[in-house]
């Protein structure tokens, strides 16, 4: 069988590795289309022939589900992630995320790079967390919004900015940055990558694959790429 998976772009390295695992290949040949979750969700809504959707946040999965495009009983959270603050590796910068911390001082003349906080998942989490910590007013005129979270990471890696908010999964694979702090759990909603079979696509192979992705082999790969373990609920 051949299965078409629509997946948020940040999952690419991990999913490629999983797809190459013999167990996965035994279930189906995986074809994967990577793009922003928003683009993928809209394509599915417009009738894209995908079998499985993996979103970078709950919002777009919910959106599709409300439109009846998702086989709700197959939905689960494939992986989680953490949001971290990174700085260029060689920067001598010490900063701890805490309510009322002086992040403006840490930035100095520079700016903080975020995935676009109005629409890109990583940016939305970061903005929510900064608001919760009361730091957003300091940052409102000091951030650079990027097209996706990888672009924010790249800015820190190239020392174009002193700070960036990115996923841990991104930070671990980039030697040019240093994680200086993790956003406190509870400063933002849990970061979840929900997965589901799409309407009318819950074939045996699809179900088998979903099962496999839940399983230890796939989860181990995800962990190696910096994602946290699958939840079950949302």
């Amino acid at each position: 069988a051949e299965l078409l998976v629509f997946a948020a772009a940040s999952l690419k390295p991990a999913l490629e590795e999983i797809a190459a695992l013999p167990e996965a290949r035994a279930i189906a040949a995986l074809k994967t289309s990577y793009a922003a979750s928003s683009a993928l969700a809209r394509q599915i809504d417009a009738g894209a022939p995908a079998d499985i959707f993996i979103s970078a946040d709950l919002e777009w999965m919910d959106w599709l589900q409300q439109r009846g495009q998702v086989q709700a009983d197959t939905r689960f959270v494939l992986a989680g992630n953490e949001l971290v603050l990174v700085a260029p590796r060689d920067a001598r910068l010490a900063f701890k995320l805490a309510p009322g911390a002086d992040i403006a001082a840490a930035l100095g003349e520079g700016r903080i790079a975020l995935a676009e906080p109005g629409s890109v998942p990583a940016g939305k989490y970061a903005k929510a967390a900064f608001e919760k910590l009361g730091l957003w007013p300091q940052l409102e005129s000091r951030y650079i919004a990027t097209e996706n979270v990888r672009a924010a990471l790249a800015l820190a890696a190239r020392a174009e900015v002193p700070l960036a908010a990115v996923y841990r999964s991104d930070a671990v694979s980039e030697p040019a940055v240093r994680v200086i702090d993790t956003f406190p759990a509870g400063s933002h909603e849990a970061i979840a990558y929900p997965i589901a079979a799409l309407r009318g696509r819950d074939s045996a192979a699809t179900k088998q694959l979903l099962q496999f992705l839940r399983g230890p082999a796939a989860q181990a790969v995800l962990r190696r790429w910096g994602f946290s373990v699958a939840g079950t609920t949302p």
């Binding site: 078409l4 629509f6 772009a9 940040s10 690419k12 390295p13 074809k31 994967t32 289309s33 990577y34 793009a35 683009a39 993928l40 809209r42 394509q43 809504d45 417009a46 009738g47 894209a48 022939p49 996706n148 990888r150 672009a151 991104d170 694979s173 980039e174």
Partner: protein
């Protein structure tokens, strides 16, 4: 040198760009001629619509195509009834590329037609040439430089198209995953910069080939006039 996946992406990009120009060219010639030679109501609106894919961010154009031509789209549902499907098919990538590069093609061609000496067309008419022969033997060859310039622009634009393609037909390996999408994926991937350089060189080579092709056409056009100095 290139992996199988990269070769596939390059092949898709070349196929898309070549077909895009080949398919769009007749329409662009017809429209360019109409814009250059006719006055008709709604002409300015048509010209503005033509520019629309340029003034909008490409992903919006792709989204508009998706709304219109997706399986559930107004036109898409109807076309699906006829067995024609663009969305998530490589032909959709051709369509997206054609929409994005169409303005480049039409505007160049139109400027070329505008520059043709109408007195030569009249002379051809007096020699018995009907509209069709006049166009093929006089108007078109005399604006070959502009047509060639338009084709290079359109080819390069189609080859490099990313935003409209990925929003309309996604990135399906072997089907719609073009070189541009492959490059973008590398850029968004840990450690991808290494492979990036290689693919950028490939794109550069394609750009060189395209401009050499145009230069050749242009030189043929130039050889024909033995002017003063």
């Amino acid at each position: 040198m290139l992996s199988a996946a990269e070769i596939s992406a390059l092949a898709i990009s070349l196929k898309v760009a070549v077909l895009c120009v080949a398919i769009a060219l007749p329409f662009a010639l017809a429209l360019g001629l109409a814009l250059s030679r006719l006055r008709f109501p709604g002409k300015s609106v048509l010209e503005a619509l033509l520019n629309l894919p340029l003034v909008l961010p490409p992903v919006v154009t792709g989204y508009a195509l998706l709304l219109l031509l997706g399986r559930n789209g107004a036109l898409g549902a109807w076309l699906a009834g006829l067995g024609v499907q663009f969305a998530f098919h490589w032909s959709g990538a051709v369509l997206a590329a054609a929409v994005m590069s169409f303005p480049l093609l039409v505007i160049s061609i139109r400027a070329g037609f505008d520059g043709v000496d109408r007195r030569l067309e009249a002379a051809a008419e007096s020699l018995g040439a009907g509209p069709w022969r006049r166009f093929l033997s006089i108007t078109l060859p005399l604006s070959l430089r502009s047509v060639a310039a338009g084709c290079v622009l359109a080819f390069a634009r189609a080859f490099g198209e990313f935003g409209a393609t990925i929003s309309f037909v996604g990135s399906i390996p072997g089907e719609t995953r073009t070189l541009s999408i492959a490059i973008w994926e590398l850029l968004n991937q840990p450690g991808g910069e290494a492979g990036l350089g290689r693919l950028v060189w490939v794109a550069l080579a394609v750009g060189v080939a395209a401009s050499l092709g145009a230069a050749l056409l242009g030189r043929r056009a130039q050889a024909r006039s033995g002017e003063d100095d």
